[in-house]
Symmetry: none
Subunit: 141 residues, 2 copies
Amino acid sequence: MESVTGPRLASGLRISVMRLSRRMRQAPSSSLSPTQIATLATLERLGPMTLGELAAQERVQPPSMTRVIMHLDDLGLVTRSPHKTDGRQVIASVTPAGRELLESDRRRRDEWLAERLVELEPDEIAVLERAAVILDKIANS
Amino acid sequence: MESVTGPRLASGLRISVMRLSRRMRQAPSSSLSPTQIATLATLERLGPMTLGELAAQERVQPPSMTRVIMHLDDLGLVTRSPHKTDGRQVIASVTPAGRELLESDRRRRDEWLAERLVELEPDEIAVLERAAVILDKIANS
DNA sequence: TATTGTTATACTCTATAACTATA
DNA sequence: TATAGTTATAGAGTATAACAATA
């Protein structure tokens, strides 16, 4: 059984999750790109770090991170400061404005999804309540 | 209840879905872009349809779908055929090569997820089976 | 010499606007 | 006139290669 059910579910679930995530990313939010938002969120979550570390975290190449940070800096969402001992390195940090943007962005995305959830039947809600926990378990495994 | 449960589920579900999708995107796959793969999968799942219908399904603009289908056609993964009664419309269909690619692609990309699914209890699998359908419904709403 | 980050350049993906063919 | 699809063109995002500054 597992040899049949496992792969089929994996395929269907993967497509559904990817499709929904694509849709949620399209939902009205800030005007930042996924990488820009993710970079900002990573900086908030893990604290100030060098551009090289950030690039590795977000799995983009260094030149791409240079541009992302340049853009976020232009918008006042991050600051760039020199490394204390190594003059080659640059440390990026989230500004208060950056934190505010992250917060309001999260609020808006939640609203978009919440609007759709109220259209569902109670038993569908129950399924998603349980699914959210399971998906999280999978993502963290 | 709904006024509390709705938003909480929205937030939890959004985070879980986005986190899982980020993990899955890092898995190795074919050289097709997300939209190209999704389009091919949609054609296989729903059967032959016009480019306009496909564009609506994948939520891209018609010119983008024209290019996606042109590319898939060049690769021999889909065919384009004239509509029986309406000379303006074009019907796209998956070729056997397209099905093969989907199959091998899924096999590779689903490995990561499938490995984690077999760790789950049968009732958790059942929840995800249902959740996949509901997530899809939300994504298409 | 090696490393960190930047600049120059090109490619992919997607969009809007203008166009062609058909209804 | 309206609709389906295509072509022309532009913009965003990311990559590789070459370069500058520092270790």
